[in-house]
C-alpha cells in the first residue's frame, strides 16, 4: 500500500513537471511572438485593445478596464506582458524561481481575463498556475533545488 501511494505520488509529480514544461514552452512562444510583433516598441497593443473594444458588450467591465487603464497605458503593459511571459516561461521551463514565475503568469492571465480576453482556454491555464504556486515543482525538478541549498534563506527559490 505504501509502495502504491509512493508510485501514485511520483506519477503525479512527473505529470505536473511535464505540464509545467509544456506551459513554459507555450508561454515562451507567446513571448517571442510578442517581441516579433513589436509589442514593446509600436502601438500594436493599443490597436489590439481598440479592436477589442468594438467586439465587447459596451456596458461590460472589460470595456471600462480597457478604456480607463489598458489603452492609456498600452506601452508599459506591452513591456510587462512581453517580459513577464518570457520570464515566466524561462522560470517554468528550467524550474528557476518557479513559484514567482507562476505568480507572474497568474497576474498576466488575470489581467487578460478582466481585460476582455477571456475564454474557456484560460481555465486550464489558471488551474495549472495555481498548482505551480501551491506545489514546489522547482524543488522536484529544476534549478530551485540547487539554489535553495546554496541560498537557504532566500525564499524565492522555495
Amino acid at each position: 500500500m505504501k509502495a502504491m501511494n509512493k508510485l501514485i505520488h511520483g506519477t503525479l509529480k512527473f505529470v505536473l513537471i511535464i505540464l509545467r514544461i509544456l506551459f513554459g514552452l507555450f508561454w515562451l512562444l507567446a513571448g517571442i511572438n510578442k517581441v516579433n510583433d513589436k509589442w514593446m516598441t509600436s502601438p500594436i497593443l493599443e490597436n489590439i485593445f481598440l479592436q477589442r473594444l468594438t467586439e465587447l458588450p459596451p456596458d461590460s467591465f472589460a470595456v471600462f478596464y480597457l478604456t480607463n487603464f489598458a489603452i492609456p497605458f498600452y506601452q508599459p503593459i506591452g513591456w510587462f506582458i512581453t517580459i513577464g511571459e518570457i520570464y515566466s516561461a524561462i522560470g517554468l521551463l528550467i524550474g528557476l524561481t518557479t513559484r514567482s514565475s507562476a505568480l507572474v503568469s497568474l497576474f498576466i492571465l488575470f489581467n487578460f481575463a478582466i481585460g476582455g480576453y477571456y475564454d474557456a482556454s484560460l481555465l486550464p491555464f489558471f488551474i495549472l498556475v495555481l498548482l505551480f504556486i501551491k506545489y514546489p515543482t522547482g524543488q522536484w525538478f529544476g534549478l530551485d533545488a540547487l539554489l535553495s541549498k546554496q541560498f537557504p534563506n532566500n525564499r524565492i527559490f522555495w
Binding site: F26, L29, A30, N33, I44, N47, I48, Q51, T54, E55, P57, P58, Y117, Y118, D119, A120, S121, L123, P124, F125
Partner: protein, 177 residues
Amino acid sequence: MTKKYFVLIFFIFVLDAQAQEVKIQNSELLLYSQFGEFCTMCEATLVCSEGKNEIDEEYLERESYLLIHLETRTFWSQISTIWEFFIRNFEGYQIKGHTRPVKLYSSVNGEWFNIEITTAEISLDPNLIKIKQFLIDRETQDWINHEQLNIGFCKRLPLWETLTYIDQRLQKNEGNE
C-alpha cells in the same frame, strides 16, 4: 563570405515582403482582423441578399434576405485553441479553420419565416464560410449555393445594433403570437 550575407539578407527581405503580402491579403477577408483570424469570443452578424444593397433597419423590415448571427465558439472549441496557438508556431501546421454555432433568420419581404440554429465552418485557404448547403466567399463576399451558383452578396452588419434589432424583432413577434 560577404556575398553569402548579401544573399541571406536578400532572402530575408523577400520572405518578409511575402509575409506582409499575405497579411495584407488576409486582412481584406470577411471576419479577419488585422491581428489574426476571427476570435473565439467574437460574434458577428452578416446579411446575405440577392443584390448589393444598402442595409439599414428599413431594409431588414421589408426585404428578403438571410440574416446570419455567428456566435462565440463552443466551450470545447475554445479549449482547443490552446493546441491551435501552439501548433501555429511550427511551419506547415497552421490551423486552417474552425466551426462555431450560428443562428439563421430567413426573411421574405420582411417576414421572418424561419429561425434556425446550426454550425458554420469558417476556413482560411480556401477562404470560405460554409453554412449548411451554402457558402460565403470571404474574399468577394459572394453568396454561393450548393450548385456553386452565385445567388447574391453578404455584408457584415454592426454587431451590437443588429443584436438589439434581432432581440426587439423577436420580442415583437412573440407579442403578436
